[in-house]
């Protein structure tokens, strides 16, 4: 009996060992097996990085509507994150598992093309241009070597936002020039109110606000014709100097500000002015407790000498990555369907006020115009559309196409230079010399 028990015991141990070994092999096998691409033949995979819940919902609803029209290729949306997309698309390019459509901004497009991805979409852009007309600033940063590398979908532009109630109380008119802006900022600063709330953290928000002032100061183009860095000039120094002076009247923790902090300061009345895109419109009444008429807007003030109207303009577009002609045609049809006036307004309403139309007839699209945010702030929306006409983006000024711009924008050098002034006490001249060297080093590595 003892022997039998012992044999059973040993046998069960051997079986257990065998099962464990098998489980190990299977587990490791599962880890190492290449994942099969289970995508149906007639399906287009779209990656976008607009992962705010409202945007995800609207984009998915539009894809469902498109799929309900029985297209040759249905659309499957996969939401990604801006923070991870650079590595994810590189890995996808290596494994050949890239999406068919990829949402992009201009500098990201240069990066994706550097990975060997991206198909020309010139024919699509030309068709949309012919039927709907396109804002020039939306197509320019995607045009290289005579081809369009992304279909623009929506634009974003910055304005000077001001609290009309605070300006009225202080007897200040909306500023139009840099000197007026500085004077207004000084006059509006009192007690617990800052004249302006500006970001000075190491982030894209700071890059963008500073660049808008560089544009209106005539320092938009900081590359030579052969794409070398030429940011160290008197116009850039003047823009840096203005930013440093304005920061003296911004809340004291501006050195850590990005997008939300200036907006919170503005809506709470802790700051009288801010420079940002149209995301200020939708939540203003609810968050400030003030009537919509207290939210004022004006074009970005221009330099007193040699200034020109303008603002940073982000054209958000969609790249087509699939090389397969049938899939590429399917992707083109979907993108043209989005830009069709019948649904383009719904698309823009994913973020009313922030997403601006890039087609000429998009500005009159009824679904968009009827949105409560757009209709309430009609004057400011129209002002943003007008501002978009003079918008531009670093690396893509006046027909430029700087392929190394991703290495510069990714490191937030403009914001870092602001911090050199704001935190380390550098003069504007020193900060501009510093940034010239940093940018040169970045593109030479």
């Amino acid at each position: 009996m003892k022997t039998l028990n012992g044999e059973n015991h040993m046998r069960s141990r051997a079986i257990a060992a065998g099962v464990l070994a098998l489980a190990t092999v299977l587990a490791l096998g599962a880890c190492s097996a290449p994942s099969s691409d289970s995508r149906p033949n007639k399906q287009i995979v779209l990656w976008h990085m607009e992962n705010t819940p409202s945007r995800v919902k609207v984009f998915q609803a539009l894809a469902d509507r498109y799929n309900a029209t029985n297209p040759t290729h249905t659309v499957k949306i996969q939401v990604q994150d801006w923070g991870q997309i650079y590595t994810k698309i590189a890995a996808a390019a290596q494994s050949g598992k890239q999406p068919d459509i990829l949402f992009a901004i201009p500098d990201f497009t240069t990066y994706v093309r550097g990975l060997g991805l991206g198909q020309p979409v010139t024919d699509v852009v030309n068709r949309v241009q012919a039927t709907s007309g396109l804002v020039a600033a939306s197509t320019a940063p995607y045009t290289d070597a005579g081809e369009s590398w992304a279909v623009p979908l929506y634009g974003m532009v910055q304005m000077l936002w001001y609290r009309a109630d605070l300006l009225r109380a202080a007897g200040v008119q909306p500023p139009k020039t840099w000197s007026e802006l500085l004077a207004a900022t000084k006059k509006l600063t009192s007690g617990n109110t800052s004249g302006i709330a500006l970001p000075a953290g190491k982030n894209l928000a700071t890059d963008q606000v500073l660049y808008s002032l560089m544009i209106t100061g005539g320092a938009a183009n900081f590359f030579t014709k052969d794409n070398k860095i030429a940011i160290d000039n008197s116009k850039t120094v003047a823009a840096f100097d203005l930013y440093a002076q304005l920061l003296a009247f911004s809340p004291k923790d501006s050195g850590n500000y990005s997008w939300p902090e200036p907006q919170a300061a503005f809506t709470s009345g802790a700051a009288a002015m801010a420079i940002e895109k149209g995301q200020y419109l939708a939540p203003f009444e609810a968050e400030s407790g003030r009537p919509a008429s207290d939210l004022g807007c004006a074009p970005i003030p221009v330099a007193d000498n040699g200034g020109m109207p303008g603002s940073i303009y982000y054209s958000n577009g969609a790249m087509v990555l699939s090389k397969d002609k049938s899939t590429k045609d399917g992707a083109a049809k979907f993108l043209e369907w989005i830009l069709d006036p019948k649904q383009y307004g719904d698309f823009l309403n994913a973020e009313p006020g922030l997403f601006l139309p890039i087609t000429k007839n998009g500005g009159t699209e009824s679904n968009w115009r009827q949105n409560p945010t757009i209709s309430t702030y009609k004057t400011c929306v129209d002002a943003m559309l007008k501002q978009a006409d003079t918008g531009t983006l670093f690396g893509f000024v006046d027909g430029q196409y700087v392929k190394s711009i991703g290495q510069i924008s990714g490191q937030n050098f403009l914001a870092q230079a602001v911090q050199q002034m704001y935190v380390n006490g550098q003069t504007p001249t020193q900060a501009v010399t510093w940034i010239q060297k940093q940018m040169q080093d970045a593109i030479s590595k």
């Binding site: 000075a200 501006s254 850590n256």
Partner: protein, 313 residues
Amino acid sequence: MTLSTTNRAVRTVGDRLRRPVVRSGMPASTKLLGYALVAPIVIIMAVVIAFPLVSAVTTSLQNQHVIGSPADFVGVDTYAKLLQDDAFWAALGRSGIWLLLNMIVQTLLAFATALLLQRNGWWSTSARTWIMLPWAVPTVAVAVIWQWMLNSNYGVVYKIFAGVGIDLGAPFANGAFSLITVILVNSWHWFPLSAVVIYGALATVPNEVIEAATMDGANAWRSFWAITFPLLQRVLFALGLVGSLWSFNVLDSIYLTTKGGPAGASTTMPVYIYDTAFSAFRSSEAAAASVVTVIVLAIAGMLFFRFGRPKEY
């Protein structure tokens, strides 16, 4: 009269804690089963540790820019470039400060909390539960909470200090204070874990030894240093070693609050590596920095083990 009785008791407890498990002769099938049982986790651990290590070393010997992009073998050129980068050495120095201050602040907070928790009373009884809250809060929430609490426009902490005439300034945005502010936030987040571990260890200190010391005439302070602290040394050593390694590698707390700023003032080694890889797209330099960091940590670990290991008593 000295503490001879107490010392004997401490030795007895120490011996009991150190007593090795006596192994009996095991049949081959039992040994085989033992190996089979540990094999899956050993193999998986080997794969998940070895593969990234080998991959990092390989990448560090190339000139890769974007992660995953084609690259050429350049030998140790990347290391030479890295070692000439002032920002690398500055980040390594800040990591040293980060490690040291986190260890000191967290140990002090944890020890003080554990000793308070050990007391009897409703406060300490209820605190044993809620004291864990800072640790249970996700790091993202911790970062947001502290940024808002210290905001100069509407921060609660900021306003409280302002109410008593203290201007906190801009703790996250001031080059002189941003690193220490993030260290304090990180310590607030993590000290409850150490506190609970130390509290658990305190519970293992035999009462009879403390009583013997008291009978020998030792006061509470003397009892703590002569009995409690020596008996906790093993736990503190393990906590210090593991905690230091964890602490060194913290990226999220820093990145979510200051992004390494302002002007690089809170850029520790993990932030430097992350920025080099994902902002500057210099993967090979980031990989080389990772390899150097592993070597530095291994040396620090060995030194800690050599000099920080509890002495036998």
